[in-house]
């Protein structure tokens, strides 16, 4: 069932099995800090001691391999999980998963979750006074194809209030979770929609301090991804870390 060799192409590797080709380190400023006081909960949950830099070993350059047993063909359509159709603006969200070397990441598991078009999650702890939609659960999963492409059909999520500070509202977003090819390539992020007026006020969005890095969390509306008479199209490409090139690789 978990035939790892069949699921992903082995990368070029050093001949000595003890040598590993590490993944790139994140560029400075490309990621949010753990402690970001405007996001209040980080005060009680952010580690304060410096992280210990771990050189990548076999444990970090490997990771779970997923296959077609892990995502059914229809799991990428969040509008067809119930008897009726959910309320809201029907959209597609599609794009590619690439590594930072520009190479596609095929056959990788993507999981998404979101609130409904009224801004309410189907979850026991969401108490927002907005209606649940009996035709919307808000969860989806898919595998990227051989070229790293993926596509979801859903409805545009609403904005909703949260308790971080007085009158706090989250910009509309869809959560994305990816495994990539290794423990080192795990990525969980949030996809936003272009032009959201709540951006300047949201501490989670702004915890990524670099303006250019923040832009990479915003999807793009693309007219050519709309389906005429049916759905609006948003494009969201995701970039996970890629491998360093090493002298060992060039020798092969």
């Amino acid at each position: 069932m978990y035939n790892a060799l069949a699921m992903s192409r082995p990368s070029k590797r050093p001949r000595d099995s003890n040598l590993v080709t590490p993944y790139h380190r994140y560029p400075r400023g490309s990621q949010p800090p753990y402690l970001y006081p405007p996001y209040r909960l980080t005060l009680s949950r952010a580690p304060r001691k410096p992280l210990i830099v771990l050189p990548h070993t076999l444990s970090e350059i490997t990771g779970p391999v997923f296959g077609h047993d892990d995502a059914r063909e229809t799991d990428n359509d969040l509008t067809r999980q119930h008897a009726g159709e959910p309320l809201g603006e029907r959209i597609t969200v599609s794009g590619r998963v690439l590594d930072d070397n520009g190479r596609p990441v095929p056959n990788t598991l993507i999981e998404i979750w979101q609130c409904n078009s009224a801004g309410r999650y189907r979850h026991r702890i969401d108490q927002h006074h907005a209606p649940l939609d009996p035709n919307f659960s808000g969860g989806g999963r898919t595998l990227t194809d051989a070229h790293g492409n993926y596509r979801f059909v859903t409805v545009k999520p609403g904005s909703y209030p949260w308790e971080n500070h007085p009158n706090a509202w989250r910009p509309a977003h869809i959560h994305f979770s990816l495994y990539g090819t290794a423990f080192a390539t795990r990525l969980v992020t949030q996809m936003y929609f272009p032009g959201d007026p709540l951006f300047p006020f949201d501490p989670i969005f702004n915890s990524v301090r670099d303006e250019r890095a923040r832009q990479r969390m915003i999807s793009r509306f693309e007219m050519n991804r709309t389906e005429p008479g049916w759905s609006l199209g948003f494009r969201f490409d995701l970039v996970v870390r890629g491998r360093e090139s090493t002298p060992f690789e060039r020798k092969e």
Partner: protein, 198 residues
């Protein structure tokens, strides 16, 4: 980072963002994996109880804990593990669970074998661990080792950790329950767990 490693990068990575409180909309019981090892998986069986605490020592519910590990022979079920050892078809080596209101979750697995580390030195048996929860903007990467394992004192990765903090990475055997281990993850505070920059 060496200039060499920069040469290949042509795209900037997507920033991480917190999982928030609602990930179990998708990460459901049906696709969580408590039993990493199945009945026929080779190896010393373990029940692992994990608890998560915040800076004030309060338990942290709704936290996703992910485990990645080698099989009993020290082989990962992954194409980039080129060691001449066999994979165990019943064993992917991946598990994930969500902590309950008591901040706890449990896994059933086997003790992994030793895998090579930097410069070929063998690492002590360990689990790779990812911790995801609201208030944590980028997942926390840590490891679980096994207290009392003779290999711990020669593990090249443990050697990177200041001695006084190594105990934060050690699961402890539960007295009177053979095969059951307990591990506490402290996100912050006096007992803060060692987290790695992976």
């Amino acid at each position: 980072m060496s200039a060499k490693s920069k040469a290949g990068r042509v795209l900037e990575p997507t920033p991480w963002c917190t999982v928030g409180p609602y990930f179990s909309v998708t990460v459901t019981d049906a696709n969580c994996v408590r039993a990493i090892a199945l009945a026929n998986t080779k190896g010393e069986r373990l029940k692992l109880l994990c608890s998560v605490f915040d800076r004030d020592g309060k338990c942290v519910p709704d936290t996703l804990i992910e485990i990645w590990q080698a099989n009993a022979d020290g082989k990962y079920n992954h194409p980039d593990d080129r060691q001449a050892k066999s994979i165990d078809a019943s064993f992917r080596g991946f598990g994930r669970q969500v902590t309950g209101l008591d901040g706890m979750c449990e896994f059933e697995t086997i003790k992994p074998g030793r895998v090579p580390g930097p410069h070929g030195a063998l690492q002590a048996p360990h689990l790779e661990v990812g911790v995801f929860t609201r208030g944590v903007l980028k997942h926390l990467a840590t490891r679980i080792y096994f207290s009392g394992d003779a290999a711990n004192c020669e593990c090249p990765v443990l050697a990177l950790v200041p001695k006084a903090r190594r105990a934060t990475l050690m699961a402890q055997p539960v007295a009177g329950q053979p095969g059951t281990w307990r591990h506490e993850i402290h996100l912050s505070g006096r007992k803060e767990t060692v987290f790695f920059d992976v």
